[in-house]
Amino acid sequence: MNIVLAEDNDILRRSLSFFLESKGFVVKQFSDGKDALEAIKTNTFDLILTDINMPGVSGMEITQYVRQTIGSPIPIIIFTSSGVEQTELDCFDIGANEFIAKPVSPAVLLVRINKLLNKRS
């Protein structure tokens, strides 16, 4: 299973990607939203994991692009440290499948990823 991981914090990104790779996923990591979006445009992935606040393009914009411009139903999980309820509502509104508040618990993340991937297959 191929996962795109867009997160600008080095430590978190590398930890998450190490964790997911240990669980058998292939992870393509990006610290910049723009690069992540470019990769999504040109490659096929099974799931997108993205932070909201990033340099370049935000996680919201990535989600919007994937749903509206590409029109792909690929599962998208957004995580953010914003404690604002509206952010969560907005995420679902633009088509994200899951919203996880930071700090992201690896176990919870894994369960949600598996749930989304199983539903599709």
């Binding site: 914090n9 964790f19 440290s81 700090p103 618990s105």
Partner: protein
């Protein structure tokens, strides 16, 4: 400047005669290339409904393009100015209406008529600024011929006016927000100015009061004693004034909070009574009436109650020639959790005229113009009392009759104290024995003062001119205690304490001595690892008390932060190499980011502070440093609001110390 049509017309489109001024007016609104806004979209919809057309827009025309703030049926954000219809509309102040473009000589061969948008009907109203410049248009467009009736034309003009009003409002709001920010900065600047001023004044005052105290302890004749006592009174009055001003600025900036500590109410009241009885002349009888079922111990702010009553009783004594000043406290209510107590201060003094009763609580106002000259005072006292009572969520009232006297009263609610109150352990001076003390202090007067006081106590004292020198002393000799000034050259008190705690791994008691009165400073001192805090000008008893307290404490083992790496363990799936890699990354990255944050804060760069704080939170989460993450949240939030406060200063300091500690612990792993 009046430019002719020809001289400007080097491009092939019509240009208004006042083009330069028109462009300047447009620029003023800062509207071009902004995001969509509801108010404008609503207006566009209204145009489409009113005229029954599929295409409508609000646009602005700059040097070379027509930019759409809001549009229906166009799907573009801008078009070149030379192909727009609206370039003609802004040439006139009236509406341009073309019922059928095919019959119009100017437009019948236009690309947007023959192809493009297939414009058949066009109606455009110029958007005219209050000073008369046509900066854009409001348009209705259709693919079929059409003629508007008078009502529709009228409605279009009205909507156009509203759009311009909206623009004005928008600009004014932006301006207001800017001014608000400036005002908030000014308040912040005022607060730090006051705090700094008080520091500057307190340092020499400390020396004056301290040396006068010492001088008063020597033998002297009656005249000398009289002089010295006058100096003492003057010094203390000066201190009261400075404290008043500081208190006010703290209350104003919302930095003064009401403590909730258990204290003995009866003892406090008796103490105030004893203190003030002495100040009253022989012709005044000072009484203290306490309700029989009044509680002994309550939870609340002893210091502030003290301040309120001392102020009120002091006033009463000041304005009463003869008769009585009576303080009474009565229980007026009780619930399971708290007591309501009515405090009253009543006198038989000069009283206050009816028309002055409302203004006596205002700042710098006293009932009599001449009062200041006759009776002295800053005119701040009652204002502070009022605000302090209000901080207790209560109200102060006054009743008065001229030449009969006044009564001030208020009801405070105190939480009940748990029944068992531990007896305070007292340590006699003797039990301390001969202490060897190190003083870190740069001011020579203060050095001399502390030296004399320590000699009085029978302690031995070494003096270091700054923190660096203090560390030098500490590494060579054994001391029982360090007295630490905060502001020093080379290494200040905070840095020195950090060094002693983190690099020398020493648990030696450290007492902060400071003339700062910055809010949150005490907390900051404790955060870097100091054990006690004595404000300057210090009273000998207060300093001795602090020394006793820290010396009688069990020497606590150096409290090391317990790091919880379980989250990282989970992430690294038990791989020690990866875990180490992340730790190394943290150690390399985080101190730099902390420095970057500090630097951006110093330069008031809210953008960078917000960005760095936000990013750091994710890193700190992985190491489960919840307390520090919370600091970052506060910092980020304040940066987002564009306004730093003393709270930010505090959190940055806590973060700074916390990170040093964490990095040190991580390096030892």
């Amino acid at each position: 400047m009046q430019l002719t049509f020809e001289s400007m017309n080097n491009k092939d489109f019509p240009i208004p005669h006042n083009e330069l001024e028109r462009l300047a007016a447009l620029k003023r609104y800062n509207i071009i290339d902004t995001l969509p806004e509801n108010a404008f979209d609503d207006a566009t919809k209204l145009v489409s409904y009113i005229c029954g057309v599929p295409i409508a827009h609000i646009s602005f025309i700059d040097e070379d393009r027509q930019w759409f703030k809001s549009e229906i049926g166009i799907g573009l954000t801008e078009v070149p100015r030379e192909i727009s219809f609206c370039q003609y509309t802004i040439m006139d102040t009236k509406m341009l209406e073309i019922p059928d473009t095919h019959l119009n000589d100017t437009f019948k061969d236009d690309d947007n008529v023959t192809g493009g948008f297939k414009v058949r009907f066009y109606a455009g109203v110029p958007l005219t600024t209050p000073d008369g410049y046509n900066i854009g248009t409001l348009c209705a467009i259709d693919h079929v011929t059409k003629e508007l009736n008078d009502d529709q034309r009228n409605a279009l003009s009205i909507v156009a006016k509203h759009v311009v009003n909206q623009l004005e409002l928008r600009t004014k709001n932006i301006e207001l927000a800017k001014q608000k920010k400036i005002a908030e900065r000014a308040v912040f600047a005022k607060d730090s100015f006051l705090a700094n001023m008080s520091h500057e004044i307190r340092t020499p005052l400390n020396a004056i009061i301290g040396f006068t105290d010492l001088l008063a302890q020597t033998t002297m004749d009656n005249v000398q004693r009289d002089y010295i006592e006058s100096v003492q009174v003057a010094g203390e009055n000066l201190l009261i004034i400075i404290n008043d001003i500081l208190d006010l600025s703290k209350i104003e900036s919302g930095n003064l909070t009401i403590d909730a500590q258990s204290f003995n109410l009866k003892k406090t009241l008796k103490h105030i009574y004893n203190l003030l009885k002495v100040k009253a002349s022989k012709d005044i009888e000072v009484n203290l009436f306490l309700d029989a079922d009044m509680p002994d111990v309550v939870i609340g702010d002893q210091g502030r109650l003290n301040q309120i009553l001392v102020n009120l009783v002091g006033n009463s004594i000041k304005f009463t020639q003869e008769g009585e000043v009576t303080v009474s406290v009565k229980k007026v209510g009780e619930t399971d959790d708290d007591y309501s107590l009515k405090f009253s201060v009543k006198d038989t003094g000069i009283g206050i005229q009816k028309d002055k009763l409302k203004t006596i609580f205002d700042r710098f106002t006293q009932a009599e113009e001449s009062t200041t000259r006759t009776f002295g005072g800053t005119g701040l006292g009652l204002n502070i009392v009022k605000q302090l009572v209000e901080l207790h969520k209560s109200e102060i009232h006054v009743k008065s009759e001229v030449n009969r006297g006044s009564e001030f009263f208020f009801v405070l609610t105190y939480k009940k104290a748990p029944p068992a109150v531990n007896a305070v352990k007292t340590v006699s001076k003797n039990s301390l024995g001969q202490l060897k003390i190190l003083l870190c202090e740069d001011n020579i007067l203060n050095q001399k003062l502390v030296k004399s006081v320590m000699k009085n106590f029978g302690f031995e004292l070494d003096i270091a001119d700054n923190g660096e020198a203090g560390i030098e002393f500490l590494s060579k000799n054994n001391y029982d205690l360090v007295l630490m000034d905060l502001q020093m050259p080379v290494k200040d008190g905070y840095q020195t304490t950090e060094y002693i705690r983190n690099e020398m791994n020493s648990t030696i008691p450290i007492i902060a001595m400071t003339a700062h009165s910055l809010v949150g400073e005490q907390e900051r001192c404790f955060n870097v690892g100091m054990d006690a805090y004595v404000p300057k000008p210090f009273k000998q008893a207060a300093l001795l008390g602090a020394i006793k307290t820290v010396m009688s404490k069990d020497p606590k083992p150096l409290q090391k932060r317990k790091l919880d790496l379980s989250f990282l363990d989970e992430m690294s799936c038990g791989d020690p190499d990866f875990k180490m890699e992340m730790i190394t990354l943290f150690v390399e990255k985080i101190p730099n980011e902390t420095a970057q944050l500090q630097d951006a804060f110093n330069h008031n760069d809210t953008e960078t502070v917000m960005r760095v704080a936000h990013n750091m939170r994710s890193s700190l989460d992985i190491f489960m440093l919840h307390d520090l993450t919370n600091c970052l949240s506060v910092i980020e939030e304040e940066a987002r609001l564009g306004q730093f406060t003393s709270e930010t200063v505090n959190k940055i300091e806590i973060l700074h110390c916390g990170i040093i500690e964490v990095i040190k612990t991580l390096k030892e792993l």
